[in-house]
C-alpha cells in the first residue's frame, strides 16, 4: 500500500526542495505521519494484548465443556478492533472455529464463552487462538498474534459392570473366593468343634475356655486380584471393515474393566501398543498395577489419548512385560484377533503362574476356532462383538 503514495511523496520532496514551501513539508508530514502513527498504534496495541483460556482440561463422555476466553488490554492505548479466532476440534464442535470481533478501551478486558460437547473420547487441541488487528486507515496489512494450544482430554465411555469372572491365584486379598485353598487367616467367619487333624494354630483358645470344648476358627477364602490389561491397538489385528469401531470398543472394554477392578479396591495396570500423541506418537507410557481412584484416572487418561497404530506386535509386548509381573497376576488381553504366537505367549504366562483371559473385541468370524484353540491351553476366551454384549458382566 505504501507504494501507492511513493510517487506523490517524491513529487512533494521535489516541490519542497525547489520552493522551500511550508505547504509541501506539511503535506509530507501528514502523509508519513498517517502511515507511521497508524502502523505504530496497531503494533503497539497488539503488543499489550494478553489472553487467557479457562476450561476443565478433562471431561467425561457426554459432558458439556464451557470454555472461557479472557482478553486483556494491558496498555493505555485503545485497541481499535481485534478479531479473535479460536480453532476448535471438529469432533467436539459443529463449527471449525469460534470468532468474534470487538474493540478494547485502555486497560479494558473482554470475556467470551463457548461450549464444546464431549462427543468422542480423545485428546483434543483447543486453539491456537489468533488475535488479529490492523491500522485505522488500512494502509498497512493485518497483523496477527498467535496463542498457545491447550489440550482437552475426553475420557472413554465407561460401562458400569457388576460381575466379571476374572480368575486369580493371588491369595489373601479382599475378594471372596470359593476355593478353600485361598483361606485368609484375617477373615474369621465362624467357629466349630475341633476334629482330629485340625491344626493347633486354628484353635480359638478363648472360645474353648468359655465353652469347655476345643473350638477351631473357620476362615473365609479370599484372593487378591492383580490385573494388568493388555490392550491391542495394532490395526492388523482387527478386521478391516470394522477396524475403527472394534478398536473403540476395545478401549471401552478396557476402561470399563479397569473401573470395575479399581472399584473393588484391587490393583490394575495398563499396557497399550497404540500411539500416544502426548508421547510424540510413540507407545503410551506403561502404567503398572496400582490401587486407587487417582490411578484409575491415569489409566483413563491414557485410554482417552491412545490411537490405533500398525506394526506393533502384542505377543512381543506381553513377552517383554510378563517377566516383571508377580506370580498370580491376571493378564487381561483385549484384542480383535488372536494368532498362535499370542496364544503361545499366554500359555507361557499360565505356566509361569499367571492367569490369562482373552477378550475378543468386535465381530470375529473366527471366534469358535480361537476359543477352541485357547481351550487347549486353558485360556478362557470372551467375545464382545458390540457394546451391548457387555451386559453379560452387568447381571
Amino acid at each position: 500500500m505504501v507504494g501507492t503514495f511513493i510517487p506523490l511523496l517524491v513529487l512533494l520532496l521535489i516541490f519542497a526542495a525547489l520552493m522551500r514551501d511550508d505547504f509541501a513539508i506539511t503535506l509530507i508530514y501528514l502523509f508519513v505521519g498517517a502511515y507511521a502513527i497508524g502502523t505504530w498504534w496497531s503494533h503497539r496495541s497488539l503488543a499489550h494484548i494478553s489472553f487467557k483460556r479457562q476450561f476443565a482440561a478433562w471431561a467425561f463422555l457426554g459432558e458439556k465443556i464451557d470454555i472461557g476466553i479472557q482478553i486483556n488490554n494491558k496498555g493505555w492505548l485503545p485497541v481499535l478492533w481485534i478479531n479473535i479466532q479460536e480453532s476448535l476440534p471438529v469432533a467436539l464442535s459443529s463449527f471449525p472455529s469460534y470468532e468474534h470481533v470487538t474493540t478494547l478501551g485502555p486497560r479494558a478486558e473482554a470475556r467470551y464463552n463457548y461450549t464444546l460437547e464431549a462427543r468422542k473420547r480423545g485428546y483434543y487441541p483447543i486453539g491456537p487462538l489468533f488475535i488479529s488487528t490492523g491500522d485505522i486507515l488500512g494502509l498497512s496489512g493485518t497483523i496477527r498474534l498467535q496463542g498457545q494450544v491447550q489440550y482437552l482430554t475426553v475420557y472413554p465411555k465407561i460401562v458400569p459392570l457388576t460381575s466379571i469372572n476374572i480368575p486369580s491365584r493371588s491369595p489373601q486379598g479382599t475378594l471372596r473366593h470359593t476355593q478353600p485353598i485361598f483361606e485368609d487367616p484375617t477373615r474369621v467367619f465362624g467357629k466349630r468343634d475341633y476334629i482330629t487333624g485340625d491344626s493347633l494354630r486354628r484353635v480359638d483358645w478363648k472360645s474353648s475356655a468359655t465353652t469347655g470344648r476345643l473350638q477351631v476358627k473357620l476362615f473365609e477364602p479370599s484372593i487378591a486380584l492383580e490385573t494388568l490389561i493388555f490392550l491391542n491397538l495394532n490395526a492388523e489385528d482387527y478386521q478391516i471393515r470394522t477396524r475403527i469401531d472394534s478398536t473403540e470398543l476395545a478401549i471401552v472394554i478396557a476402561a470399563s474393566v479397569a473401573a470395575w477392578v479399581a472399584g473393588k479396591q484391587q490393583t490394575v495396570g495398563l499396557k497399550v501398543n497404540g500411539r500416544d500423541p502426548l508421547m510424540g506418537d510413540s507407545l503410551p507410557q506403561y502404567i503398572p498395577p496400582r490401587k486407587g481412584q487417582a490411578h484409575l484416572m491415569r489409566i483413563l487418561e491414557n485410554l482417552a489419548r491412545v490411537e490405533m497404530t500398525s506394526g506393533t506386535s502384542l505377543s512381543e509386548m506381553i513377552q517383554q512385560q510378563r517377566y516383571h509381573l508377580s506370580w498370580g497376576t491376571t493378564l487381561l488381553v483385549i484384542t480383535g484377533l488372536a494368532g498362535d504366537d499370542l496364544l503361545d505367549e499366554l500359555y507361557q504366562a499360565r505356566r509361569a503362574g499367571q492367569n490369562a483371559v482373552l477378550i475378543l473385541a468386535g465381530p470375529s468370524a473366527s471366534f469358535r476356532e480361537i476359543s477352541h484353540r485357547a481351550g487347549h491351553f486353558g485360556i478362557p476366551v470372551v467375545s464382545i462383538p458390540n457394546e451391548r454384549s457387555l451386559d453379560i458382566w452387568r447381571k
Binding site: G3, L11, L13, T26, I28, A34, G134, Q148, A294
Partner: protein, 540 residues
Amino acid sequence: MSQRENSQEYRINETVFRWTSYLLVALMVACSAWTLGSLLSRLMLFWQTWLMAAVCFLVALDSLYISRRLKNLTIFSKEWLITFSTQWIVILMLVKVLTGLSHGVDAFLAEIPLWWKGFSSHFMTGDFLIAVVMVVIAWFVSGYFAGLLDEMGIDHALIALDMESAAHRYELDARDRLLSLIFTICTILVMITALVRVNLRAVFAGQFESLFYDLPILAGGGASTLAYFMFGLALLSQTQFISLHTRWNLAHIPVSNKLAGRWALYSILFLAILAGLVSLLPTSYSMGLLLSLGHLLDFFVQLFYFIVQFVFAILAFLLNLLFSLFGGNSPFGNNAFPSRDLPELLNKETAGGSSLPWLDMAKSIAFWVIFLGVIFFSFSQYLRQHQEVLHGLRKLPGWQILLRFWHWIRARFAGAKRGISKMVETGRERLRARRGLGAGASKGRHLNLRRLNARQKVYFFYLALVRRGGERGLPRSPSQTPSEYAATLDDALPAADEDIDSLTDAFVEARYSRHPIQSEEANRVRTTWERIRKVMRGKK
C-alpha cells in the same frame, strides 16, 4: 448476537456510513475545485473560487445520490436517457445562473436577452465553459467514487448476491483503486498548488529572478489541498471499517455493537492528533543541512571540552588543597585553568557574524532531523514492502560494502543500547537494594509460567516438588541425587511413587540432555505434578 440482530445493526451502520462517506467525497471534490479555482483565479481575475467549489460540492452530492438509481437502469434505455438528460439540464442551468450571478445581478439580467441573439457568444461564455468542464469532472469523479464505495460493501444487497469469495476479491480490488484515486487526485492538486506559487506572468515574460511567490501555508490552494487530504484520510478510515464489516458480516462473525461508535471516535481522535502533531513539527529552516550539522558538532565538541575542563578544575583544586596543607606553593595558579561557562549552542562569532538566535538553530536542527527521519522511514517501508526492488539493489556493485557498513553501524548502536540498558538496570537494582527492596522484590516477584520454555517448565515443576517435599517434612539433602530423593519421597508417598519417578526422570532428561524438550512433555509433567500435589495434600 444472533444473525438477525447482526444484520439489523449492519443496516443501521450502512446508512450512517453511506451518508458520511458521500459527504466526505463531496467535500473532497469541493476542495479539489477550490484548489483548481485558486489557479484559475490567478489567470482570470473575475473567477469566483468559492462559488465553483460550492457548485462542485452540490454536483458531487447529486452524482453520488443519483448513481445508485442510474445503476439500476439499462444504459441508453428511455428511462435512463430521461433521468440523465433532465439531470444535466438542471445542472447546466444552475451553473449558468451561478456563473452569471457572479458578475452581479444587473449584469446577469442584461445578459439574458442576448442569449437569443448570439447563443454561442453570449450563452457559451468562457467562464461558463470552464465551469461546465469542472462540473463534468466533479460529476464523473463522484460517480466513480460511488461505484467504488458500493463495491467495497456499502451496497449490502449487491454483496449478498455475489459469492463470498468473489465479493472479497472485489472489495480488495476496489479499496486499492480507491487509494490510487485519492492519491492521484492529491498528486494533481499538489502540482496545481505548486503552479499557484509560481509567478506565471514572470515565467512568460522570461524574468526568472522572482520565480516563486512567498505565500503563507494556507493561501493559494494550500488550505484546500490539505483539507482534501484530511477528508481523504477520513474516507479511508470509513471505507476500512465498512470493508472489514462487510467481510465479517459475510463470514457470519459476530461484531461488538460498540465498534461502530468507537471507530468514529477513534478516527476523529486520530486525525486530530495527526493534525496537532504535524502543526507542532517545524516546517521551515533558517540554516541548511550542512550548516546545521556543523553547529551540532560544534556544540558536542564544546560540551566535551567543558566536561574535561570541569574534571581538571576539580583535580587542580584537590592538588592545591594538598600542597597548602604541607605549606608548599601550588603548582597550579588560580588562573591555570580559566573557568568557562557552559557551552552556548551558537556564538555570534561561529555563525559568521550573522545573529542567529538559538531557537532558530534548534528549529533548523529539529527540522533536518525530522525531515531526514521521515524520508528514511518512508523509503525503508517502501523497500520492505517491495522486496523485488531490494533484490535488484543487492545486485548493484558496492551494495555489499554499504550493507556491511550498515550492519556495522547497527551492531554498534545495538551494543550501545545494550550497554545503556545494562547500566540503567544496574542503577535500578542498586536503588532497590538501597531501599531494602532488593531481596524482597526478587523473592516476591511473580513468575509467569507461560513465558517459560518447555525445559524451564520441567525445572519449575521439579523444584516445586522439592519445595513442597521440604514443607511436608521431606527436605532434600544437598548430597542427594534426584533418584535418591525420589526414593525418599516414594517411601513417604507410595500412592504417588510412579508419578514421582516419572517427574524425576523428566527433570533428569531436561537437566542433563541436549535435545529439545517438547511442550507436550512439559504438559505431561504438569499433569504429573498436579497428581503428586493432590496426594501430598491428602497426606497432610
